[in-house]
Symmetry: C2
């Protein structure tokens, strides 16, 4: 054999325990970490089917939906976005995408790969979309699908959704929503708000490792999917088949792919914790922590990037990097001295903001206080360094 | 809120410890299970990059390749197959698929979704392909890609690969190989054998949970991918971008999707165990266990489905269901009384065979003996029942 044993794998792996207060992943609760080390089950075992059924019920609760086509995909949140695109869109269909940060950009990229005619609306960075704006665009473009992000984690902007579904349906359009960074921290009522396709991330508020992505389609979306002229472009994300493995349709469960029982057990545990706490309490905890953070930032003289409080996403807070500060100094100080992850911007906000995550297990007053203290120390250090360099 | 808390999530989850002697997943070694419960890391943390680098070295060893474009995808083995298709194929390209079981059928399905012109060759069930047969087909079809499965787990057939790469390249064709069920148990020399695209499963010989899929592309394949006329059809599996996150190309690491650090740590541990044991020793262990199984089956008067010994896959042994036996009785007996998973057929072998897996951590003489004993008991019980019913 030509390729020898690599020396690096003879050493022990280094997995430090950090406090992840960036835009995700967040730390998993101990119960979820413990669940991860349970024995492996087969993907067609009765215990696995029971766990999948439990997950479906948990997902219906967090999405507030009775959609039968509700399940978890074996991929990261990006796969959820792509599943929405490739299942709802056929070559030549028109999609309208509300773009006010990196996630709208990604959606545009994926829709283009599906062969869609892609139209977009955008806003100033740090702003969201008004109903009037959305209505005008849908009326004029007449898309098959309208896509919007509830929690734009690159800018920290929260997008209210109420009323959008009604507008979409008035113009015979499906409403698809990304809730990766928002779900569990802000209201979401899929059925009441007439949302047709919805997905979220496991590794944000739910506190489950990445790699398993909750998704749900309305009966209206189902009808569109099952009357496609062409097969879904991607086997791995073909919801007509995955839905069979998850027992969402009539007929027997049919093997589609090998689901990871480890991630299923972890997701079930994360959902059980949400059920134990209750969605209202979970949202209140996030709101309270965000409020505590805003107050603290004000005391430090720091300016949130999203000016209007009601447009701020409680899970991810963006803060303008003050003049005379290098954001990398602050982030570096936090990780080096406190094993605490803070984050810089992403995509259009790169180098412009700090991003602080308050999600799931990490959304606690003591973590807010810790972040504020570390932020203060890091800013001081960066300013001092700058002065030193200038002298 | 309309959808109440589901009662099912208030109960504890049931995850029994079974001995998984079906065609996969196999049981994870305790060290891998322990690794799974390590704290979560961010996908862009230096420790994560180190783990990814270690994994790349481990994968180069198990594939026996120096390919720079070697990494693990965030999906099940099916995603590996689809990544091969969507990266190598553009609409209108011709692919030739060697089809002698369910995995060739799946490859055909995926290639069709990519818009390929799909040609196939097939064999009798339980047989593999001769070099002459392959050469004739490639010469006549002149495909852009030839796809073949090294370990057809639905039939238990082993496909030798030596020489196929040379034939392919003589006709300006890329060679893509599925080693999901075979890698680590039979020889594989990617560079020596001129293989252009290769992937395997995590949950077979490697003993890692499903959801993370090793893959590697030759420089020849890379050239084809980077000179595509159209973008890769699937963002989530676009190797030109995933390769950047994995630092396989020049330039900085760029975020593509949120990789699951839990699965990365588990895969690293699985690879470390392979390195510790050594590939030759790992293969010998699988060969020895398979031999012990064949001998035991003969003593029981059972007939392997694959007649010629050298065409048998050591990881998955298929056995003809004897006359007068209901395979479900036997599989049911094993799981009910011994928490032992045996399997029936799949796809073209459904109802015709038993499938016994000897993979990774589970490939031990004592497990072989246990399987033989349980098989004997189950067959007896089924025959007796049948007699009883007939009387």
């Amino acid at each position: 054999m030509d390729v020898p044993k690599p020396e690096c794998l003879k050493k022990n792996v280094n997995v430090p325990n950090k406090l992840l207060m960036g835009p995700g992943p967040s730390n998993c609760p101990p119960r979820v970490l413990k669940a991860l080390s349970q024995p492996i089950l087969g993907h067609m075992h009765p215990e696995t089917f029971q766990i999948m059924d439990d997950i479906k019920e948990g997902l219906k609760y967090i999405f507030q939906t009775n959609n039968t086509l509700t399940l978890a995909l074996s991929c990261s949140g990006h796969g959820g976005m792509e599943a929405v695109m490739c299942n709802l869109i056929e070559e030549g269909d028109t999609i309208l995408i509300a773009k006010n940060g990196i996630w709208g950009q990604r959606a545009e990229d994926m829709a283009n790969r599906c062969g869609a005619t892609v139209k977009t609306i955008d806003t100033e960075l740090g702003d969201n979309f008004s109903l009037a704006r959305i209505q005008n665009a849908i009326q004029s473009v007449k898309p098959k699908v309208f896509f919007i992000v509830q929690g734009e984690s690159s800018t920290g902007v929260y997008q209210p959704l109420e009323g959008i579904g009604d507008i979409c349906h008035r113009y015979n359009c499906l409403l698809a929503v990304d809730t990766v960074a928002s779900l569990g921290a802000v209201p979401l009522l899929v059925d009441q708000w007439n949302i047709d396709a919805i997905y979220t991330g496991s590794q944000k508020v739910l506190g489950v490792p990445p790699g398993i992505t909750p998704i749900s389609f309305s009966s209206r979306a189902q009808k569109i999917i099952f009357s496609r002229k062409t097969p879904v472009q991607i086997y791995y994300l073909d919801i007509t088949q995955i839905g069979q493995q998850w027992n969402c349709f009539e007929g027997p469960r049919i093997y589609h792919h090998t689901v990871s029982s480890s991630l299923l057990v972890a997701l079930r545990e994360g959902l059980a914790l949400v059920v134990e706490e209750g969605l209202e309490e979970l949202m209140k905890r996030h709101r309270d922590c965000a409020k505590r953070l805003y107050d603290g930032l004000e005391k430090l003289g720091l300016e949130p990037f999203v000016e209007e409080v009601h447009k701020r996403l409680p899970t991810v807070t963006t803060i303008k990097v003050p003049d005379g500060v290098n954001w990398l100094d602050v982030v570096g100080y936090a990780i080096k001295h406190f094993n605490l992850e803070l984050s810089g911007g992403l995509g259009p906000t790169a180098n412009k903001v700090f991003r602080i995550g308050l999600m799931g297990y990490n959304a606690k007053p003591e973590n807010v206080d810790k972040v504020l203290k570390v932020l203060q120390g890091g800013l001081q250090k960066s300013k001092n360094n700058k002065c030193l360099f200038k002298l």
